[in-house]
């Protein structure tokens, strides 16, 4: 360790990081996203992706979905700290491996090239419900919904078919079956 002369002790333990999806229901008011995101940055937590939008106009509720990584202790702190924020109503926490929860991200791919390349791109996306949103002689805009790592892979694979631009969302999550998170 460098001789930093810090005022604090350092932990030498390397703990395992897990990926968690944290869902936060908040009052849709000015600054609420800054409060949530600021809590993450201020306390040194990670944000891998973020999705946020109003989900209930009448009750004025927004739903924030955050993909984060951390040790079990850190993830626990994230939940408890979020629950302390005044505009936060409830906080759900899912592990990425959780089979009872659906996670999806959406991506838009712009492919530019001759027809055979456009078709090749579309074919490569077949597994992920591709939708052609825009089509010209030279280009396609393809929308897919998939898991993060699948979109990562497609972003690489489509390069050879003339991929010029990628736009993607953060993950959103929902439990399977009839139950909802309370």
């Amino acid at each position: 360790m460098p001789n930093s002369k810090s005022a604090y002790s350092f932990s030498n333990k390397k703990e395992k990081f897990d990926t968690h999806i944290i869902v936060v229901w908040v009052d849709n008011e000015a600054g609420v996203l800054a409060r949530v995101v600021g809590l993450f940055s201020g306390r040194g937590y990670n944000i891998e992706s973020l999705a946020v939008a109003q989900v209930d106009e009448k009750l004025n509720i927004s739903r924030i979905t955050i993909v984060t990584t951390g040790t079990p202790q850190v993830v626990n702190q994230i939940k408890l700290q979020l629950r302390k924020l005044v505009p936060v109503h409830k906080v759900a926490d899912f592990k990425r491996e959780d089979k009872a929860v659906i996670f999806k991200e959406m991506a838009l791919f712009k492919i530019v090239g001759p027809n055979n390349k456009l078709e090749g791109a579309l074919k490569a996306c077949k597994k992920y419900n591709p939708v052609i949103l825009d089509k010209t002689k030279k280009s396609n805009v393809i929308q897919i919904t998939a898991l993060r790592r699948e979109i990562d892979k497609m972003s690489k694979d489509l390069k050879k078919f003339g991929l010029v631009s990628v736009s993607r969302t953060g993950a959103v999550a929902m439990t399977r079956g009839a139950d909802i998170f309370k």
């Binding site: 460098p2 930093s4 604090y8 002790s9 629950r83 005044v86 936060v88």
Partner: protein
């Protein structure tokens, strides 16, 4: 149709309904409409400070000593940014503050207007919550909500930012709504079986210790009473954090003194060797735990705290009881009486060996120091101050540094709310304005700021406030001409490289006192100290007491860098044998 009030009037209507009697503030362009209304609300007195940071710390002193929220009124821009230190301080130490700040008119927000800043953005991480009021119809509800958030659960600071045009607009006034549960966030989440489990652990333990903190004070005087009852009923030893001092009598035999970096030998060793640690309203702060991997390795740990996020944050515990200290203690006592009415007797034998061990640690007398007849030892000064004021129900504030630790070690507190110090943030310059706030809340009481000469210069301008309002605060400066704690660390950890820790041009504090139109007293020798202190106590005006102390005295005992509780440095002699070397140096 009911009467219409301006936003400025509503601010005061709200304060009236919240039983505010004093506010600490400083006027400026963006709050002038509010200052206009001040004269129309006679029950609310304004204390004009000399710097907004002073307003914040004064409000903190007021809040800590009275149990009521402290209220601050500042203008936009620099007014708001100057108060940020005090808000952060209050956030760290869980002090309820309500800060009202002016803002530029709504149509100018975002244009980089004169004295504009993003106040809610800047204060978001140092408040429990804050609001920018953009609609006059939201103003009253927002202010009432602000008081509620500041004072419920784990207390803390809040801020309401009010643009100038909102202060002029008119609307109806809504009285505060009846107490509602705060978004499901309040506050007792424990069940009877948690209490049963605690009592089970207590009855099994042969080496127990209570470790209590500021949460006991924040829970109100009743919590301190219940704590005493519980400690006497169990016969267990008790130690306290810096912030918890006063919740249990400092001169009681069951009290082991403060724990932590500069805590007593007996308290820290008992924490290390115990088999049951009952944390009541403390938060396993790093100044308390020392090296976390070796913190109290053999104990079962119980944590009673109102804030769920404090549980398992730094130290994993075996039993968490989330709730208000007062409620938890009262349930515990009730169950204890029902189930184990003879607890004390049955327990005495079990813990007798433990007490013997504690007595052995005690006999080390870790707070002892080498006295002197020529120079005033700082510890001696605090001891004499304590002896000469202990019958007066005095209120003590401090700045931050060696003097603060010496005060915590040598001044014994018997009641809660008598000790105001900046613990979490460690804000130099806290004590003088805090003393102003304490004296405002308790005009007849003796209020002393135990200070260092470096700290006190950071907010010395508030002497002017004390003089203006006839607040006879006593500023007791342990003057060693160094930033003592910095000097101590440089001596112990940085090869005696005293880089910038000596103040080469200090003011003459006696003349400074005279310039502020208060009283200056200087003590240079141990012989004259008592007389000078008595002179200070007999002066019914603000006093700056310049106590010239040993320049190079260090604060012991000390848990050195990266060491656990059971490896303390006891004093100058011990220091040689436990020299901090190698890796430890980087850890502190």
């Amino acid at each position: 149709m009911s009467k219409l009030y301006s936003g400025a009037e509503i601010v005061f209507k709200c304060m009236e309904d919240q039983n505010v009697d004093h506010i600490f503030g400083y006027p400026g362009g963006a709050v002038l409409p509010i200052y206009d209304e001040l004269q129309n609300f006679k029950s609310i007195k304004h204390v004009l400070v000399r710097h907004e940071q002073g307003a914040g710390h004064a409000a903190e002193g007021y809040a800590r000593s009275s149990g009521k929220p402290g209220v601050i009124l500042v203008t936009s821009g620099p007014g708001a940014t100057n108060v940020v230190t005090a808000l952060t301080d209050a956030y760290m130490d869980s002090i309820p503050l309500v800060c009202i700040s002016g803002q530029v008119p709504t149509h100018l927000i975002g244009t980089d207007a004169f004295q504009e800043c993003d106040t809610t953005g800047i204060t978001r991480p140092c408040t429990k919550h804050n609001w920018l009021v953009k609609d006059i119809n939201d103003l009253a509800d927002t202010i009432h909500k602000a008081f509620e958030v500041a004072t419920t659960g784990r207390p803390g600071p809040v801020l309401v930012d009010i643009p100038k045009d909102i202060q002029f607009q008119k609307t109806k006034y809504n009285r505060p709504k009846k107490e509602k549960k705060l978004n499901g966030k309040s506050h007792n989440h424990f069940k009877q079986n948690n209490i049963d489990e605690l009592i089970e652990l207590m009855s099994k333990s042969s080496k127990p210790i209570f470790y209590t903190g500021g949460g006991v004070i924040n829970s109100g005087p009743k919590a301190s009473e219940l704590l005493r009852e519980l400690v006497y009923a169990t016969g267990f030893p008790i130690t306290s954090t810096l912030q918890g001092l006063g919740s249990f009598p400092g001169d009681d035999n069951q009290f082991l003194g403060m724990l932590g970096m500069h805590g007593t030998y007996e308290a820290n060793n008992a924490m290390h060797d115990c088999d049951l640690m009952i944390n009541i309203g403390a938060r396993f702060d790093d100044r308390i735990t020392g090296k976390i991997d070796e913190f109290s390795p053999k104990s079962k740990k119980v944590h009673i705290d109102i804030d769920p996020s404090s549980i398992n944050k730094n130290v994993k515990v075996d039993l968490a009881i989330v709730g208000d200290v007062k409620t938890v203690l009262s349930s515990t006592l009730k169950s204890l009486k029902q189930k184990k009415s003879k607890f004390l007797n049955s327990n005495k034998q079990k813990t007798s060996k433990w007490w013997e061990k504690i007595q052995k640690w005690r006999s080390v007398r870790s707070l002892d120091y080498i006295g002197s007849e020529e120079t005033i030892k700082p510890q001696y000064a605090i001891e004499r101050l304590y002896e000469l004021t202990k019958d007066k129900d005095s209120y003590i504030t401090t700045e931050v540094g060696q003097h603060q630790m010496w005060a915590a070690q040598h001044y014994k507190f018997n009641k809660p709310n008598r000790w105001m110090t900046s613990g979490g943030l460690g804000t130099m310059g806290y004590g003088l304005p805090a003393a102003v706030g304490v004296q405002v809340a308790h005009p007849k009481k003796l209020v002393i700021d135990i200070a260092g000469e470096a700290s006190v210069l950071m907010t010395i301008q508030e002497m002017s406030t004390a003089v203006q309002y006839n607040l006879p605060i006593k500023i007791f400066i342990l003057n060693n001409q160094y930033m003592g704690m910095v000097r101590q660390w440089q001596e112990l950890l940085h090869d005696k490289n005293y880089s910038e820790s000596y103040t080469a041009a200090l003011p003459d504090f006696v003349k400074l006192a005279e310039a502020y139109n208060c009283v200056g007293i200087r003590a240079k020798t141990p012989e004259e100290l008592d007389d000078k202190i008595i002179e200070m106590l007999n002066t019914d005006r603000p006093v700056i007491f310049d106590c010239m102390v040993d320049k190079v005295e260090n604060c012991f005992p000390m848990i050195p860098s990266g060491k656990p509780h059971n490896q303390m440095i006891l004093g100058p002699k011990d220091q040689e044998s436990k020299k901090i070397t190698g890796k430890g140096k980087s850890l502190v």
